[in-house]
């Protein structure tokens, strides 16, 4: 492909791409994001290609693997254009029917449509599905429209027009002013104003400056950046080039974790394509602006998501944070001024340039503008990526978009912000999501992880889980983090095992203060948050564990006992047959009894006992009733039945 040498040429190429595409020609878009591929999307794409060939429709239909639209719960997701018919959980065996019915006959295959759990209503189009309808998808919405491996697809939806605008219609000061005016704040966690960060670097002395994409996403359960980099790599790249232009940088890096092979592949390809088109390299689009980008793969350390650790790793040294009394936008990579922004932050930039800061700033709240992508996971009906305007309440995200809690369970808490964040309880559900609001409540926005916890979750155990994660992921350099976390984890583990002692909670608070106040980097300083927020909102659970050796959520194994209620057992023998440790004395017409010595508390009996009997119970903090005597175990049918 020839280089593009001016803004006009870019527009001509765009027109060329569009005129070669008939908007009415059917296009089968299959999500080829990591989640859908795991559920078999590649096989579905192959099946479509084979079926279309078989039916001789090659000239009449396009098939493409696209970026992730977010509805991972129901993947593989298929959208058929131009009608935008959305089919969910499509399997290769559904493909012949879709091709014959929808493509040839223009009929909808009813059984593959979205069905609302509560109303039973079906939705034909993507935009009718409540999961999508209640979102505002200014960033992630493009994913399903493009093949991430095709720069032409990105150009077709207006890609790189913001870059052309920046290079030919705006000065770099104007670009900076526009971003400042938009009040865009960093999507990586801390919410630092992006424009100020850029301005600091721009004004810092030195010829050489760097811009970096932080794609070292590592919070448990979070995959927003992954979906963007895999699904729409050019949008990130375009944002980065614009940033470089505003800051005066000629060299950029994409720091992406090695565990995201598809993201590495797609963004590497995107860079190559952009270079070929003259959108990267020397004299971009015929201007006097030069800029190159390199991909650097992270080697699997969570702490390298922290800005200074990321830069140290990029320099080829051990990825450990360094003291940050001078900001890295002044003195960062190789001590040069460096702007490091998160994937999602960069993705917002082309939109702000194209649509204007005023448009952007009208979305969101007073102090948090635009949208935020959350990865909604845990005990939630609609697992997936959701993009909502800042200021939407947690309740709307969880119930309107997420579809509530599965299996009729009760909501207990929402964990936001990853290991640095915290848990918010039910009475905080009307909190509007925003950087400051979440922080004030004792959690944080973080990069957008949102884990829903139901009534069966033990909050002490959640704090323990996140500290265990950090035990492995702390770099280990400073004492308050390395040793503080070590001791906090020990104490929390003891508490969940029923070995908590009076004074443990106070000791945890002391350790939390030292980590918070004296640790070297934000990982250590925020490490106690999962403990502090759960203590703030669920202190009674901590006290129950320590003082009564009771787990109110009936979740901590060492604190619960499984017990068969003799009045309810109908001797159906299911539990005794399923018990993996042969701990249940069963027998026909014999009330079943659990041998507590043999029981491993795996919970199988509890799961398999038919709900109409509900004979297996979990007990915590109270003595197990004595087993009924051998002679009383026989069930006399008839007399017992109502």
């Amino acid at each position: 492909m020839a280089r593009i040498n001016s803004s006009a040429e870019l527009e001509e190429i765009r027109k060329g791409i569009l005129s070669g595409r008939d908007p009415n020609k059917p296009c089968i878009s299959v999500c080829a994001g990591a989640g859908c591929i795991a559920s078999g999307a590649s096989e579905v794409i192959d099946a479509f290609k084979a079926e279309i060939e078989k039916q001789g429709l090659m000239a009449d239909v396009n098939t493409k693997g696209t970026g992730c639209p977010g509805f991972c719960e129901r993947g593989p997701v298929v959208v058929i254009y131009p009608e935008e018919i959305c089919y969910l959980q499509v399997k290769p065996e559904d493909v012949p029917e879709i091709v014959s019915q929808t493509i040839k006959e223009k009929k909808v295959v009813d059984r593959l449509l979205y069905v609302d759990r509560t109303t039973g209503e079906k939705a034909t189009h993507e935009s009718d599905i409540p999961f999508y309808k209640n979102q505002e998808r200014i960033i992630i919405g493009s994913n399903i429209k493009i093949d991430p491996k095709s720069i032409d697809d990105y150009l077709a939806i207006g890609g790189y027009s913001a870059l052309a605008k920046v290079l030919f219609q705006m000065t770099s000061e104007q670009v900076l002013e526009e971003v400042k005016k938009s009040n865009l704040r960093g999507r990586g966690g801390a919410g630092f104003p992006t424009g100020s960060k850029w301005e600091g670097s721009r004004n810092a002395p030195g010829e050489i400056k760097y811009v970096i994409v932080n794609a070292d996403e590592g919070d448990p359960g979070a995959f927003m950046d992954r979906a963007l980099l895999e699904g729409n790599p050019h949008s990130v790249l375009e944002g980065l080039i614009i940033g470089a232009c505003a800051v005066g940088s000629r060299e950029g890096y994409i720091y992406v974790r090695q565990e995201y092979p598809l993201a590495v592949e797609n963004v590497t390809l995107a860079i190559k394509q952009a270079e070929e088109y003259g959108l990267l390299g020397k004299n971009i689009l015929g201007s006097d602006f030069d800029f190159t980008v390199k991909v650097h793969q992270g080697a699997g350390a969570f702490v390298c998501g922290e800005s200074t650790a990321l830069m140290t790793a990029l320099e080829g040294r051990t990825g450990e944070p360094r003291p940050k009394y001078i900001r890295s936008n002044i003195k960062g990579l190789w001590d040069r001024p460096t702007v490091l922004n998160n994937v999602e932050t960069w993705s917002n930039v082309p939109l702000i340039i194209n649509k204007g800061a005023d448009w952007f700033a009208q979305i969101g709240t007073e102090r948090s503008k635009g949208t935020k992508i959350f990865s909604l996971v845990g005990k939630i009906n609609n697992t997936g990526l959701v993009e909502v305007p800042m200021g939407m309440t947690l309740r709307d995200i969880i119930y309107k978009i997420g579809g509530g809690i599965p299996r009729g369970k009760r909501f207990k808490a929402v964990q936001t912000g990853g290991p640095s964040g915290g848990c918010l309880p039910e009475d905080m559900l009307d909190l509007e999501v925003g950087f400051d609001e979440l922080k004030k409540a004792g959690s944080m926005m973080g990069s957008g992880g949102m884990i829903i916890l139901d009534e069966d979750t033990c909050m002490v155990d959640i704090a323990r889980y996140f500290l265990e994660f950090l035990t492995d992921e702390s770099c280990g350099k400073c004492v308050p983090c390395r040793e503080g976390i070590r001791q906090m984890l020990k104490i929390l583990t003891n508490i969940t095992k029923g070995k908590g002692r009076e004074g443990d909670i106070e000791l945890l608070e002391e350790l939390a203060e030292v980590a918070r106040e004296a640790a070297l980097c934000e990982l250590g300083r925020s490490a106690p948050n999962s403990f502090l927020s759960t203590l703030k909102y669920f202190r009674d659970e901590y006290e129950a564990h320590v003082l009564e050796k009771r787990c109110p959520a009936l979740s901590c194994k060492e604190l619960i006992t499984f017990y068969i209620d003799p009045d309810k057992c109908q001797a159906c023998t299911i539990c005794s047959k399923k018990c993996p440790s042969e701990a249940i004395a069963g027998g026909k017409n014999r009330i079943h009894v659990i041998d507590q010595e043999k029981c491993t508390k795996c919970g199988t009996c509890f799961e398999v006992c038919p709900p109409r009997f509900g004979a297996v119970r979990k007990i915590s903090g109270e003595p197990v009733p004595a087993s009924i005597p051998e002679e009383a175990r026989t069930i006399v049918r008839g007399s017992k039945e109502k």
Binding site: V303, Y325, S474, C478, V479, K490, E517
Partner: protein, 204 residues
Amino acid sequence: MSEIIFQIDGRQVAAREGMTVLEAAQKAGISIPTLCHYEKLEPYGGCRLCTVEAEVRGWTKLVASCLYPVEKDLIVRTRSEKVDRIRKMILELLLAHAPDALELQNLAGEYGAVKDRFEKEPSFCIHCGLCVRYCAEVKKKDAIGFVDRGTRREISFIPEIASKECWNCKECFPLCPTEALQAAFVLAKAFAFPSSSLEHEPTE
């Protein structure tokens, strides 16, 4: 280099621009405890024992004095209830690993740190990194390094380098505040030279 006047514990202190608070304090004869600082090495900020209160334009924050650059009108308080509380806890956390280290015991006395507050895990090493950094920065040999991360982090000699460099050097030994280094070295020797005597080491 211009001179910067600031305050430590109510005293006017003069320092060169670019100096850290710890350096300026030491120059002025004001003591701030530290376990990982050594004048020949780059500041590290690992032990956090040198944490002090720094007040800038009315804002007070806790900073590591070994890293914090001096600035005009800075007000430093080397002791406060909070600073002492943090130092006490740091010492208690380290005493779990090296209960008999003299330096820790002396500081423990000053800050009222309880030796057995936490369950003993005698690894001896307190991860001050003095040996690792001395070997890298002064000797430029990298014969010893940190391996692993988080709570599993430990120091380790690199046998290939150590076998060539360490016999005639051992300059890092006196830097170790807990004598853990000696133990690690012996261990490394054992790994590097599995046969009981060096003289009989087969050459290839």
